[in-house]
């Protein structure tokens, strides 16, 4: 178990923001709440992870996220 301090929280925040802020880092968010999953989001997510091929210097993360609210548009990909 890690002993987290306020300093640790600050460092983690800075690390994550730095990782996400790099121009060649791309985040693809797949809406995977229950509604999204029942609309096929899990299949979408797996397809993206399986078929993505590294190109140029891009670092692509395909991230499951919760409900963005536009349920009528599920499956939502950003």
């Amino acid at each position: 178990m890690t002993k987290t301090t306020p300093e640790t929280l600050k460092n983690i925040k800075e690390e994550v923001i730095a990782e996400q802020g790099v121009d060649d880092n791309i985040r693809i968010l797949v809406g995977m709440g229950t509604c999204g999953i029942s609309a096929g989001a899990k299949a979408s997510w797996k397809l993206w992870k399986r078929n993505w091929r590294q190109k140029k210097t891009w670092i692509v993360q395909i991230i499951p996220c919760g409900c963005a609210g536009m349920c009528s548009m599920s499956t939502l990909l950003r």
């Binding site: 178990m1 987290t4 306020p6 929280l9 229950t34 991230i63 919760g66």
Partner: protein, 321 residues
């Protein structure tokens, strides 16, 4: 894939409203103010680092290291956050009733039973931002002197249960719940308990009975759970959405929270729009937005321009309009 996603040449029929815009630029979000849903759809709910990057657990650090329990309760009272489960009772007042009671054990319970038909506000928070609830329960525990929390979640929400458990495990691993949180003297632990399909267990005294292993039966009040609740110990029971407001109130202050909504009911409310409306979904709007704006502006009206006949605003709000 490269051409359509990265080279600025999207397939128009797969974009929202035929335009390639960011989510916040969509018409659907223009009247919304996402406070409770701030992180939903923005972060990976199964990665605590992403929650921390959005100022996660900063409020807990502020509460346990810089504020006394009484000060935390005072901020909650000043904010006038009212119970979002439908009761509308002041959260700060509820915590202030439990805090002075002397007991060897106190509890804070998250009511995640969400029995209202068609409602999925709480489910969305638990699935999209479970750490907000965990952090809020720890803050509430600190405020009232509770060292144990339970999240009573309906068993019909397996994704929410799994994400909550992952979040609790990660928070424990990082020492954000457990013993001597963030180097303070405050200890707090959380467990999940599953409901068994009884709508009545959304009512706090029936919920308590269910947690104790008994049949979910309501009882008369007084005694109120804040004085005599779970196993006859002082217990505060709060709704998921209520709790999800807490970290931001502690971090930004009561005045910030009172800056939107109405005088009697500051803040926002999350609604699940369902049924015969063009744009179904989950919305979060400041208190005071009219039903007309919700139906015709955010919800984009009734299909085929049919005439409005009725709306049911949810059992907790107790009215068919």
């Amino acid at each position: 894939m490269y051409k359509h996603i990265f080279a600025g040449d999207p397939v128009v029929k797969y974009t929202i409203d035929g335009e390639f815009k960011t989510l916040s630029e969509q018409n659907f979000y223009q009247k919304q103010k996402r406070v409770v849903l701030k992180n939903c759809g923005e972060i990976n709910p199964e990665d605590i680092r992403e929650y921390i990057a959005k100022d996660g657990y900063q409020a807990l650090a502020k509460a346990v290291l810089e504020m006394s329990p009484e000060e935390v309760i005072e901020v909650m009272k000043e904010s006038n956050l009212r119970g979002r489960g439908g009761g509308g009772f002041s959260t700060g007042m509820k915590w202030s009733f439990a805090a002075p009671n002397k007991a060897d054990q106190k509890y804070i319970v998250c009511n995640a039973d969400e029995g209202d038909p068609g409602a999925f506000m709480d489910r969305s928070v638990l699935e999209g931002d479970p750490h907000a609830v965990i952090e809020a329960m720890a803050i509430g525990g600190y405020a009232i002197g509770a060292t144990k929390g339970y999240i009573y979640v309906r068993a019909e929400y397996p994704v929410a249960v799994q994400r909550l458990q992952t979040a609790i495990n990660q928070a424990k691993e990082m020492g954000l719940i457990g013993k001597n949180i963030l180097g303070s003297k405050f200890n707090f632990d959380i467990d999940i308990r599953l409901g068994a399909g009884a709508f009545v267990c959304g009512e706090e005294t029936a919920l308590i009975a269910s947690l104790e292993g008994k049949r979910g039966m309501s009882r008369n009040k007084p005694p109120f759970p804040a004085n005599q609740g779970l196993w006859n110990k002082p217990t505060c029971i709060n709704n998921v959405e209520t709790l999800a407001n807490v970290p931001q109130i502690i971090l930004n202050g009561a005045d910030w929270f009172r800056g939107f909504g109405t005088d009697k009911s500051p803040g926002t409310k999350v609604f699940a729009l369902g049924g015969k409306i063009n744009q179904t979904g989950l919305i979060e709007i400041p208190m005071g937005v009219t039903l007309r704006e919700v139906i015709y502006e955010i919800g984009e009206g009734i299909p085929d321009n049919k005439e409005f006949k009725a709306v049911q605003t949810g059992l907790g709000l107790q009215a068919d309009v």
